[in-house]
Symmetry: C2
Subunit: 139 residues, 2 copies
């Protein structure tokens, strides 16, 4: 029950968050974090982002797909960490699916721009924090 409740609160946080923090394994064994626009999600299991193919994060993920995604509500002091793997997708369907009006400012050549990639993060487990309590769960 406690797990189910935490997963639901975590999902509410994901659904209302515009920005997520993506954690990757960077060079020389250092972790790296950057904020990303959360484009779409399928429950807590899958989260889609877009990125420049030439970006550092894409290079890091092509070497090591292990990743985490963090959502936070600063006012309510709630946090959700999802742990899993993140794939770089280049297929036309995924690129079309994620494309939004105005994306030309990131990817000048449009939806077929080779510098436009989709990131699909798939969670294996997660941790929800609120009120000094951490609840872990499989996803």
């Amino acid at each position: 029950m406690k797990e189910k409740d935490s997963m639901q609160k975590g999902l509410d946080l994901v659904n209302r968050s515009e920005i997520a923090m993506l954690g990757t394994n960077a060079d020389q064994g250092y972790p790296h974090i950057r904020g990303m626009i959360k484009m779409e999600n399928e429950g807590l299991k899958k989260i889609w982002f877009s990125t420049n193919t030439s970006s550092e994060k894409a290079k890091q993920l092509s070497k090591n797909s292990k990743a985490c995604v963090y959502f936070v509500d600063f006012e309510k002091w709630m946090g959700l960490t999802l742990v899993g793997t993140c794939k770089i997708l280049q297929d036309a369907e995924s690129k079309q699916r994620l494309w939004r009006e105005g994306f030309e400012k990131y990817y000048a050549l449009g939806v077929t721009d080779p510098d436009y990639s989709v990131l699909l993060f798939t969670a294996e487990w997660g941790k929800y924090y609120h009120n000094l309590t951490i609840t872990a769960f499989e996803i």
Copy 2:
């Protein structure tokens, strides 16, 4: 000039942030992120946090001190990643320095509670993001 300007903007972001995201190397090669109260900072070079000695993050850092700290302004879409190492401090002076009124809710035995530790993160380099531009700098 651009570096100096980005470092100053990054420092302004650190100074006004109450919460930072700490990235660590967790078990089985996965990165992990969690929000932390930023207790004190010395420019961009040093950042102090407090934590439970028994916490997962303390265990992770005792195995591998490589870490990163991320600050974000959701409204202005600014982000700062600092990369370096994070030490666990148990000495009385550090513990006294970081102790705040009300900390008993985290560390029931008070300032000498063995479950109370100080984390000192020391940055080696950083990356500042704003307006589609990333600037990297040594610290």
